[in-house]
Symmetry: C2
């Protein structure tokens, strides 16, 4: 039995991740095992996003898992931000190492030490490298997919001749993530810029796409960093421009991770379990025979043959009842279920149920158009998350109203902020809400900081976050 | 300038790997950076092999990078075999760990600890899991792709109800590797069984496919292990059979790694560089304009449009001469080169050069059939390695002849062995040759051990190996 969302959202989340067989905790504290059904979602995400990454002009490569301690220390903000989370290798091959090695918490330093050799002239720019890899950040409060000691991700790393090109790259990567979240995962996102307090350690600024989960908390779906010349100066990455002058490159890095799978669960799921967008669902259709007779089997094989370029499974298990199977595949979030019994055979019909509304419909075999059904379900999911986000984005008149909404309803609060990190910090201490982003679309009207009342044009989105 | 194969094969190998931009050494000793061109080969290998793995019925999943020390110790042969190569994490998040964690040198132990929960009844069998992952084995004499501290691989892990099923699985996996090496990589392989001394630590027996490199040394292209009940007994993986009796499962594991890329280099390469089999080449065709005039560009764009479902690149760089580009793309092993100059435009022809024979041919545009050319090149590469292997597989009459051939010519020596590990060890000490495998195809004739002269029917392949 699944916990209900309204009773305990965190427990519901765990129940769904475990029950739908996406992942489980491993005997190594803080690590997870991504099970075949969960990993199939990740494979579909990878396949689709890899194409988008290559469209941005990046090539895949692979850099070492290990980072010498001295590299991490080269960029001071970076080491400060990451060192509390680093796992250290001190022994290898039965010997103590002379210099301990960090397991990559992110790959800027190990990559950029080599970029300095790869980049000599303006002709070597832009350089765009992407890596699909595992990452380790020590976490003591693990949650499956959302926060684990080890996770899988992609990290793009680019180098450019000018600040403008790097700005443009950072924004293109973010727009790619927004497009991916919306078009593939069906999750509406707010693109924006992080505050100084929330930016990536070592970046000039960080962009992110933020999505609202069904419990009213925000989840960062992807980030893109304009690194400026911080790393190129620490690592000595210079190029000769057309006029023979030496310049430091401008850099970006950007990434998304298996965390997105957690986002999928919490943005779409309901009290029956997961709801998967057809584009990334391991199975887009499940066919369930209502009886075991031969005519039903024939009818089903006719249907199977008609399902071209659709990922489907027929659940022929005989130990389980059809009702049990309905629950199972609802929990696993399969977008479209087909039920075939003697009635469907006799009338040459198909009975189907879409996972989002669970309404049972019967139509003529000839009229059944699964691609259209899946396409519209895909679009509906995005529309639902967009509606949900808009309904749960609140304007507030006062700080007390801010606090009340954050505590009782959650969601985004769109309001003004003076830009001072002291106000930001106080609000966080008092409400646990943080500035998720300074949205790209600003109204450019005059307002007042919700905390101190100072005049400001700066609109921001606050929320409690994962 | 490339070292010549006959002058110094090892140096030639390094020159090619670096020169063709496949990989380079990283600042972390023993680790490599797989560069975009090398990684693109790995991506093509992954894509093709993943389909074959799924045909074997395995599903992909992902298990933690870390293995608790106590797990490694559960299977005694296994820990003995691997512990000298293990990297240890002792600190995480600024704290010393209570129990140090091994970075996976292979994943049997971390997976099988969970398999005991996943498997309850005969209905849960067979269980077939595959993982694409990075692996760490401490190596102090690194060589790019062939032996590095970290490498990428796939590892299949299965559990079965009976020994026979596990035997069959181990052999199916090996046959898949043999087919892959031959059909995709164009590398002829000898399938066989390892001796006790050479088997995987913890296995009942190990199967492998062995290929001969151009310097006469053997490279193991893939291995498949019948693990028996060794791990299921150590980890308590039991199932209830149809009659309600508890049994331990029978297991297999099997893997190939980025080492195969080293095999590609050494099985096909020549003094001009790499020769890539079309099926896994990042670019199957390179088009080089001989002049920069507009008519040449038009002719090339006509050719480009005709290249459907072919991976090609047009090298339009203006700083380099055509001759420089020929050398560059020969070094990088592109199977087919097209050269277009004013003569080809005028006569509506195409001049092309195949990478294996480097003969320049000119034919009518209409008669140009790139797919056919690539297909036959693919087949020729396999035929060449098959010929090479046969020519370099020697029968010997005496141990002194054995020693002479191993020292002067290299290659395989196909001979008889008594089965005693003492003879095996002595031969290794005296010649550096090891038994690569007990080939699947045995002549079943009477012979005598090449070392001790004892009668034996057991034919084996000896070689020096990577």
């Amino acid at each position: 039995m699944l916990t209900k969302q309204k009773d305990d959202f965190a427990k519901w989340y765990n129940d769904v991740v475990l029950g739908a067989d996406l992942a489980e905790y491993s005997p190594v504290k803080g690590c997870m095992i991504i099970k075949p059904y969960g990993y199939a979602i990740w494979e579909n995400i990878q396949k689709a996003m890899d194409i988008e990454i290559k469209k941005l002009g990046a090539s895949n490569a692979y850099f070492p898992l290990f980072i010498p301690e001295k590299f991490l220390k080269k960029e001071s903000e970076h080491v400060e931000g990451f060192s509390p989370q680093v796992a250290w290798v001190t022994h290898g091959g039965n010997k103590k190492l002379q210099e301990r090695l960090a397991i990559r918490p992110t790959s800027e330093t190990i990559m950029y030490d080599v970029f300095k050799n790869w980049i000599q002239s303006y002709r070597d720019l832009p350089l765009k490298i992407n890596q699909w890899a595992n990452i380790v950040r020590w976490e003591m409060r693990p949650r499956l997919f959302l926060r684990t000691l080890e996770f899988l991700w992609q990290e793009g790393h680019t180098a450019h001749a000018t600040k403008e090109e790097a700005d443009e790259m950072a924004e293109s990567a973010l727009r790619m993530y927004q497009g991916f979240a919306q078009d593939w995962l069906g999750i509406y996102c707010v693109p924006g810029k992080k505050t100084e307090a929330e930016k990536f350690a070592g970046a000039l600024y960080t962009l992110s796409v933020e999505a609202l989960m069904k419990d009213g908390k925000a989840l960062q779906m992807g980030t893109s960093h304009q690194l400026g010349q911080n790393f190129s100066k620490s690592f000595g990455i210079q190029f000769l421009d057309e006029k023979g002058r030496k310049n430091y490159v401008w850099q970006t890095s950007w990434g998304v991770s298996t965390r997105m799978i957690g986002g999928l669960v919490m943005a779409h799921g309901d009290d029956k379990g997961l709801i998967l967008p057809p584009k990334i669902a391991p199975y887009q259709i499940v066919i369930i025979p209502i009886s075991q007779d031969g005519l039903v089997k024939n009818h089903i094989s006719k249907i199977e043959k008609s399902l071209k370029e659709i990922r489907f499974i027929t659940d022929n298990r005989i130990q389980q009842t059809p009702g049990w199977k309905f629950n199972e595949w609802e929990l696993r979030g399969v977008p479209l279920r087909i039920e075939i019994g003697p009635k469907e055979v006799k009338e040459n019909k198909i009975t189907f149920v879409l996972r989002n509304n669970l309404k049972r419909q019967t139509i003529d075999f000839k009229q059944f158009n699964p691609k259209k059904l899946l396409d519209s379900l895909q679009k509906e999911l995005l529309a639902e998350t967009k509606n949900f986000t808009e309904e749960n984005t609140h304007q507030v008149k006062s700080y007390s109203e801010f606090k009340e909404i954050i505590n009782k309803k959650g969601g985004f609060i769109r309001t003004y902020w003076c830009g001072d990190s002291k106000c930001e910090k106080k609000i966080q201490e008092e409400t646990k809400a943080t500035i998720r982003c300074i949205p790209m679309r600003q109204k450019n009207k005059n307002g007042r900081c919700i905390k101190c009342g100072k005049e400001s044009k700066l609109e921001v989105f606050f929320a409690k976050a994962y």
